[in-house]
Symmetry: C3
């Protein structure tokens, strides 16, 4: 499951790289960054070094495979908007939940754990966008980061209430993913500050 | 005091988010980033993990409060240019001093400690600007980073000379803040390289 | 040698800062970032904190010296395209090799070590470009990152095969630098994905 999330996040990085006309190497780098930077940021912030993805070849394989798939099949993938969005939402929920769990295992307080969950889920995508000099979409679009926050929040609440960790993880990831998917279909938005 | 600095830096992030038309969540994220990223970078670089702000709920409260205040009152705050600038200068001096002190406590040499002080004071604002795809203002504007450097330098010199830590901290923060404020009023600038 | 690489990377940061019309302080910061951020990222990711450059004054001196040289002599340096490119290629090979070696010393697997080598060599330049709101050149230009990958790959292969570390380091750095230099002269490029 975790590898599937890595693969889908890798797809998002590679698609953006193709759109910005980067070469094959740029595509692979952006796959890797989108797929692993969220977890790497989490691990650097909580001190779980070396960062987890560095020691596990499978994350590299999943992310780079995403890059290769996009290099050859980006025209096909561009048509699969819906499946890619749904998979991305699953990755989002999953990364938020595992991020918050790892933060709790490192004895962070509730707010720290929630924030780490959000960063794990959204950090890779944010860095991906920064690297092509765009404002991270997570900052200006829909319910993306809020869904991650919901997933992390459920994990932290469940931890506080002593619920079984596996159950809250599944609930958190499922609700976060579901909210993200529904919000895309419904076009829900977060309120903006009224400008003069 | 430290929390006041966090709050003011949070204000700067939230104001920028409003100007760039981000939604409420983007505003809160940019508050949090502007307020905490400098300290987080410091802690990751010197190995003081988990990063300090993650374990202390009050930093979250201060930064998010700044975001909420701006969301509802940005029109009013925009008029308070001077008080906000003065508070920001105080935060700058304070963060530079605490950053350099923490670096010295981790046995860094003088140059490392000064640089960590500058990064602590300026890193949050730099990341804030990068996230909205702007060149960090700290790189191209006035005496901002130089004031931080002065504060950190005083701490490092005082440490080397064996002066009492509390005294050098107060002096460093006060002089850095004062220099920043005066430089804004006087319009002082750092020299630029002469172009062909 | 390592310091020479730091100096040349510092030059690249400072030249970019002059081109973007930053003040003296911005020039020095961009020198420092371009020269040290790759190594700092490596150390944060593998947990070798405090980051190495923070404890060694000579890196600061080399990077800041590069900034000062550019501040006064940027018109001359701009004409030295070739020597600067060759020195930069040497820095590239060197940083890739030392990065991969350090990662292996921290017990990372082969893919982790290669990626750390690439990040060490390219991370400083990437952050340099991000800070002036440009797409990192390493993502869209020639064989740059691929040459770093070659250097790191040779170190990792030699480590796996039990070859003497010094020998593989020299070979890796030399081949990476040579490939980079030749690719610039020949105008080699990495393939791009075919767009519709």
């Amino acid at each position: 499951m975790d590898l599937l999330g890595t693969f889908v996040f890798g797809l998002s990085g590679a698609m953006l790289a193709v759109r910005r006309d980067l070469d094959l190497f740029g595509i692979l780098v952006l796959s890797l960054v989108a797929a692993t930077a969220g977890g790497a940021l989490r691990d650097m912030l909580i001190g779980a070094t070396p960062a987890a993805f560095l020691s596990d070849q499978r994350y590299f394989v999943a992310a780079l495979l995403a890059g290769v798939v996009v290099f050859f099949g980006h025209a096909q993938i561009e048509k699969l908007t819906r499946p890619v969005m749904v998979l991305d939402a699953l990755g989002l929920g999953l990364f938020a939940v595992t991020g918050a769990q790892k933060a709790l295992a490192y004895d962070l307080g509730p707010m720290g754990a929630i924030w780490i969950g959000v960063l794990t889920a959204c950090g890779g995508g944010a860095l991906r966008d920064v690297l092509v000099a765009e404002v991270p979409r997570v900052l200006c679009e829909e319910i993306y980061a809020l869904a991650a926050l919901l997933g992390a929040l459920i994990v932290v609440l469940g931890h506080g209430a002593g619920w079984p960790a596996g159950l809250t993880a599944v609930c958190g990831a499922a609700l976060a993913s579901a909210w993200r998917i529904v919000s895309v279909y419904r076009g829900w938005q977060v309120p903006r500050a009224r400008k003069r």
